[in-house]
């Protein structure tokens, strides 16, 4: 099956500053690729390169099996939603949405039909006659979406298209996008800061930092098996606990010792027969530390911990304690008996933990 988008060894510099370094990504027809990374890591730049709006410094790029490295944006068969919306200020909302079709010579009836459909989908029918200056941020964002959705391109590019919507509308639009994706089988590249958006929408996630791809994988892979400390820390909310620990080999396996202030160390034992160096960083998701009485399987190991802070958050209660000199968050059941300042017996799910090398940050298991 041919790749809808294939990027090989892409480098991009602005003058002497290298912004994107050796990017290699490919997606299949119907994939939903989500780009995540901290602000300024080059996500928008990468989208611009895919769209052909910025020339790339080296490498090559193909869309739909055709080499597009030097092809102009209008011939790449893409639609794009810009982070800054980029609505045409002198045109009404309706004209903004139909401009692309008009330029491409789509007949008036089709234009009207598509406009009506998209306007209904995005709930912007009452706004069609207004100018962008008379819209709120969220309304502008929806118009920008509309401009892309009336097209039927090989590839959609979205740069944080839902960032300015209120929580309810955002959830609706997210569902709408997912449905659209499934219905059309359209291929998309999507930039977001929102963890949940990334997890729910993506078939594939790319995590970037400083212009370098840190990890590519399915949402489950990224979440469960982060490739390094950066990805572990960046993906998931609350973030994965990264606890400095010592791995001590003994007869039956490896003991993982976690120092505690004014208390005996917690000792957990690795059951997987991993070959770990002495110093490791243990990565545990908050949900993998739970009430011992409520969760137990053959991978969990228990320990008594002093809870420092208890934060109820509706369905869950977060308990914070200090382990290995770090604040560690556990996601407990809302009916937990944990109280601040008291000791609670917690279960650590060793089947799901990650180990990282403290110096390189690389995953060890």
């Amino acid at each position: 099956m041919s790749k809808i988008l294939e990027i090989n060894n892409l480098f991009k510099s602005y003058g002497p500053v290298e912004i994107l370094k050796d990017i290699n990504v490919s997606i299949d027809q119907g994939d939903f690729l989500v780009l995540v990374g901290p602000s300024g890591c080059g996500k928008s730049t990468l989208l611009n390169c895919i769209a052909g709006l910025e020339p790339i410094t080296s490498g090559n790029l193909s869309i739909g099996g055709q080499d597009m490295t030097t092809v102009s944006p209008k011939d790449r068969d893409i639609a794009m939603v810009f982070q800054s919306y980029a609505l045409y200020p002198t045109m009404t909302v309706a004209k903004n949405i139909t401009f692309g079709m008009k330029v491409r010579g789509v007949d008036q009836a089709t234009q009207d039909e598509k406009l009506a459909y998209v306007a209904q989908q995005l709930q912007i029918e009452p706004l069609l006659k207004r100018k962008p200056g008379q819209l709120s941020g969220g309304q502008r964002q929806r118009v920008a979406m509309g401009r892309a959705l009336v097209r039927d391109p090989k590839l959609f590019l979205f740069d944080e298209p839902l960032s300015n919507l209120d929580a309810k509308l955002r959830v609706e639009m997210r569902t709408e996008l997912k449905a659209l994706h499934q219905r059309l089988g359209a291929s998309m590249v999507y930039v977001t800061h929102d963890q949940i958006e990334a997890m729910t929408l993506a078939t594939k996630i790319v995590v970037m930092k400083g212009g370098i791809i840190q990890q590519i994988g399915t949402p489950a892979e990224i979440y469960n098996r982060p490739a390094n400390l950066f990805v572990a820390d960046f993906m998931g909310s609350p973030a994965m606990n990264l606890i400095p620990a010592k791995a001590v080999k003994n007869g039956k396996g490896t003991a993982i010792q976690i120092e505690r202030n004014g208390n005996t160390p917690i000792v957990l034992s690795d059951t997987k027969n991993l070959d770990l160096p002495e110093d490791v960083i243990l990565g545990v998701r908050p949900e993998d530390i739970s009430d011992a009485s409520l969760r137990a399987n053959n991978e969990t190991q228990e320990a008594d911990c002093v809870i420092e802070i208890v934060e109820p958050a509706g369905a869950d209660t977060f308990a914070v304690m200090e382990l290995g000199g770090k604040h560690v968050t556990a996601r407990l059941h809302s009916e937990t008996s944990a109280k601040a300042g008291e000791t609670q017996r917690l279960a650590f799910d060793l089947g799901k933990v990650s180990y990282f090398a403290p110096d390189t940050g690389k995953r060890l298991n």
Binding site: N48, F82, S84, A86, P89, G100, P132, R147
Partner: protein
């Protein structure tokens, strides 16, 4: 307004406040009178008869209003040997100024659009060189320009004068449009490119409609420059193609018979009228803030 109310917080003596206000108005009034005085004298003089001018006071109102001087200035006054008034020259100026303004504005808009939104290697150098063109004094280009006009075969013609004004104005119009367009986010061009639009389509559909305020500014500037120009007009015209400024000079300086001050004044006002009109009419369309809402904010 905000500043003013801030001020009243410190100085909340109402009498002082009112005195300040009135002081300001009186000052402004004095300046206005000072600037309007010459125009007032011109206007009243142009409405008087020669007898009255000779016997009366410079700043007194006309005892008897007469439009004879205006009639003479428009169609009878002598410029050297011809006695057709300002009329033919007025039309010459129109024929020079209107295409000159239109062409230089359009080219300036295109240039500004290119150097601000279609960055190419050397764009900044080219722009700097064009800026340099703004600072070259008229006198310096007279001789080279005469050569060029001769070579093009349009020396002494109205197209020749249009050409001169377009070339000389291009630096300014490019500067105006470039500075206006650099503040327009490049995403607008990018979005239009993704929508499939090309160079001229983007210019026509997106940039020109955004440009009304700067077009107005440029038109006012260029029209004033071209209409009021004397040096190019006197250097590059011949008998039938002289602009209104040259005619005015000839009327005022023609030395046959008595000095008709009323005619001179009427002719001067006629020569100045179109620029005044452009300010009044175009100023109304000086609308700002059309880009509001195109980007996040």
């Amino acid at each position: 307004m905000a500043d003013y109310s801030m001020h009243t917080v410190q100085n909340n003596n109402p009498i002082g406040k009112i005195a300040l206000r009135w002081g300001l108005y009186v000052m402004l009034g004095i300046f206005a009178v000072f600037y309007l005085m010459p125009f007032f004298v011109m206007l009243t003089t142009s409405l008087k008869s020669l007898d009255e001018i000779r016997t009366g006071d410079l700043i007194s109102l006309p005892r008897e209003v007469t439009l004879d001087a205006w009639r003479t200035a428009w169609s009878g006054a002598c410029t050297g040997i011809q006695c057709e008034g300002m009329r033919p020259y007025f039309w010459n100026s129109m024929l020079i100024a209107i295409p000159g303004v239109a062409i230089s504005t359009l080219l300036g808009a295109l240039n500004g659009y290119v150097v601000s939104q279609w960055k190419f290697r050397g764009a900044n150098i080219i722009f700097s060189l064009m800026l340099f063109g703004c600072f070259i004094p008229f006198q310096v280009v007279l001789l080279p320009m005469a050569r060029v006009l001769g070579m093009m075969g349009i020396a002494g013609t109205i197209p020749g004068l249009i050409f001169v004004h377009v070339i000389y104005g291009l630096g300014f119009t490019t500067l105006f449009f470039r500075n206006y367009y650099v503040s327009i986010p490049s995403e607008l061009t990018k979005a239009a490119k993704v929508d499939g639009a090309g160079f001229f389509r983007i210019f026509w559909s997106i940039f020109l409609p955004l440009s009304i305020p700067i077009i107005v500014v440029t038109v006012i500037w260029q029209f004033t420059q071209i209409w009021n120009d004397f040096l190019f007009g006197v250097s590059f015209s011949q008998a039938g193609t002289q602009p209104v400024t040259v005619a005015l000079n000839n009327i005022v300086n023609s030395t046959t018979g008595v000095k008709e001050y009323n005619v001179d004044m009427a002719a001067a006002i006629i020569a100045a009228l179109p620029t005044l009109l452009v300010y009044v009419v175009a100023g109304k369309y000086f609308v700002r803030g059309l880009t509001a809402g195109s980007v996040k904010g």
